[in-house]
């Protein structure tokens, strides 16, 4: 199998089961442990990454489906870790335990790439698939709006 482009780096897939979910490939074979496991069935959004610029749930995306499209994880969202969403997240004090937040930020980043000024309903639609057991939803909403403003 050809290599997969993960955060701009080619990662070999030799010997990898093509059916392996991208989640486990990223965590166990590409060193991207920022991508989290929460359910394994597209219910929680913890594993959200960008595939060809779209937010996907890596736990239900087989490695074979990721061929030929760049994969971006939380580690690659911004070279310096200073994406407006990352800054807004820190400023609003969004994270509690933090476990869901990589997935939340990746979903929010895909939203803002499409929609520069999301309404509350837009945010609901884009973020519905990301669970947060700590209940940081009100601050997630606030931080998305702040980042949208910042990005103009």
């Amino acid at each position: 199998m050809p290599a997969i482009d993960v955060n701009g780096k080619a990662i070999e897939t030799d010997g990898i089961d093509p059916a392996m979910p991208l989640l486990w490939f990223l965590r166990d074979h590409a060193g991207m442990t920022g991508v989290k496991f929460g359910c394994g069935m597209a219910q929680c959004g913890c594993c959200t990454v960008h595939l060809g610029g779209r937010a996907v749930r890596a736990c239900v995306t087989p490695v074979s489906a990721a061929m030929g499209q760049p994969v971006v994880t939380i580690e690659g969202l911004d070279e310096k870790g200073e994406h407006p969403l990352q800054k807004a997240w820190a400023a609003a004090g969004v994270p509690q335990c933090g476990y869901c937040q990589a997935g939340q930020i990746m979903s929010a980043a895909a939203l803002l790439a499409q929609n520069k000024g999301p309404s509350d309903d837009d945010i609901d639609r884009a973020m519905r698939g990301n669970l947060c057991r700590c209940g940081t939803y009100p601050r997630i909403r606030e931080a998305i709006k702040a980042a949208a403003k910042e990005m103009g």
């Binding site: 089961d17 965590r27 989290k36 929460g38 476990y99 700590c134 209940g135 009100p138």
Partner: protein, 764 residues
Amino acid sequence: MSAHGNETSRRIVAIGPDRRGFLKGMVGAGAFLLGVRAGVIAAPRPSDGPGDAAAAFAPNVWLAIEADDRVRIVAHRSEMGTGIRTVLPLVVADELGCSREKVEIVQAIGDEKYGSQDTDGSRSIRRFYEPMRAAGATAALMLRRAAAARWKVPVGETHTADHAVVHGATGKRLGFGALAADAAKLPVPDATELTFKKPADRRFIGADAPIDDARGIVTGAAKFGGDIRRPGMLFAMIVRPPALGQAVKTVDDKATRALKGVVDVVRVPGFSGAHAFQPLGGVAVLARDTWSALQGRRLLQVTWGESPHSALDDAALAERLVKIVEKPGAVLRERGDTPKALKSADTRIAATYRTARLAHAPMEPPVATAEWKDGACTVWAPTQNPQAARDEVARMCAVDKAAVTVEVTLLGGGFGRKSKADFASEAAWLARHAKAPVQVVWTREDDIAHSYFHAPAAVHLEAGLDQKKRPVAWLQRSAFPTITSTFNPAAKAPSPMEMGLGFTDVPWAVPNLRAEGGEVEHHSRIGWYRAVCNIWHAFAVHGFADELAHAAGADPLAFLRDLIGPKRLVDPTTEGCTYPNYGEPLAKYPIDTGRLRRVLDRAAEDIGWGRKTPAGTGLGIAVHRSFLTYVAAACEVQVSQQGKVSIPRFVIAADCGLAVNPDRVRAQMEGSVVFGVSLALHSAASHKAGRIEQSNFHDYRIARITDAPRRIDVRLVGDGENLPTGVGEPGVPPIAPALANGIFAATGKRVRELPLSRADLSWS
């Protein structure tokens, strides 16, 4: 909550140079080290080195000041989202007079030398705020004495600020690093000599300091339990017995072993005696990566033996609980003559409330990694209780606990589940078997099936009103499988600790009041879950208070105020009750109805109590003291004609005394609202024929962003003069009753069962 840990009195000792190597490798030679201890002290003992068994003598915080000015402060509590890993060290830093950028926070391993590390019961700040302040103040005084000696000025003319000792009159200053070596030679001041910073001079206490881990979290660099990687590491998945206590009968692992990537299949021993924190046993698949382990486990064919618990049926248990509470039980608190007052009451109402079994479902399922080297084991685990994890690993692997090191990673949520580190023992046992590092990964299905469940419960209530519609009698009866059964399988009676969680401490000013408890067997692992029994007790007590208000034809808020009655201190122990008060003396942390009233009035005001609402919209309110903190929750609820609930707004008014980090307190309250909404609206776990009926978030539902209130306002109305009390849990209990009361206001439908989504809420 746990029965463990005793942290009531404090004293301070300095350790001086790091002669026992506690911070070996962490600090340079010549660093100034200080230990603070918490614990019940029987008598001072000369030896208190590592390996000393008496937890009461162990220091629980260490701070080290390096010659280069860096101050390292050990965080001994586990970080699961409260911010405690940042907040407690900053208490030390504040009293010491540190600059934030020169403070490094170091996570402690599990060891009695730190005192209790059991991070639950909403008590990290409550139990450690004072010792931490004392630690900082002690170090500050020693540094000031060192500086004063050099300058030949009275110590009283000096103070600490911006990481230096300052002589006020001359403006002379010496950095902490430059004084560390001198300070380390000084005797440790007595607690009575300490002076504390005035509130106006505080930099971190009372301020919204951001958490230390924020950047790691938003960049993906933060390390949670599953993020540990060791050379040659194997990944394990375990198939565990469906019902508690079932043993493996047969295993067919041919297909599993044939799978590429699978290394071994091995039977893991089950527990013996009380299951407590021991693993459940089962069959493990060891593989080169997580996917292979998962695939291999799917192909395993395992059959199980019988157990006394393999008939567990939650529907039947729920019926049984109702039957139990509708009959008299053991009297736990008695004021006046309640049965007689009920009989002679002008109006009498009765109702039975029930709540579902719950699984914590932290976003990060249990996971642990272990590695053995020369007979010693290191375990990396997201555990709330690293000392218990260490004890259990040592027990299961039959080694001395000196050979076991438990490193605490960040926890992707805990909520009580990760106090019980069965997953750590699994990893340690498998790593030794495999002669390789092993990471045990739990799936969501494993997590829900093998929880330490929040017990299903039933609460029956009866009340009487006199002719003037004033409450004259209140009877309440509660039954649920007890947490005690986890440690003593024969236990059926609720413990005073559990009944003290929002039940035997009802603050009502009713002339006749009685609390009773019923008994029931367990049949599954029962554990503590964020806010524990307060959840069902608050749901029943505050829902019924609202019912009684309506029976009296009164406004619920006005009625509630009367029920709470005049400002006074309530003492259940004067009414025949064994009331633990969260392990604290009532004299220090009383049940103060004045504080209860104050949060109630604030929440009512902010939600706009009494305003007219459109059809299908209602306001609900509840107020509850738990974990020594007073919280009122008021909400606006909308119910569509089809019965769909949405929540535009929640207001929380909380009095937790001094808010050490107000931003994190607000975050805990916001999170509690959402956690409360989850269990109020959606979550329920159940068994049929001993097997769990739910598997993942599609059928064990928790609140999504669309379920959560659009707006949550948190008002901290506590008095900074009062000692800080719990904040992790007390926001949860009033949420479900406030919602149910709001739904009644919106629809006229009274819901007495959680989750509320089971009820038909449609209206026309």
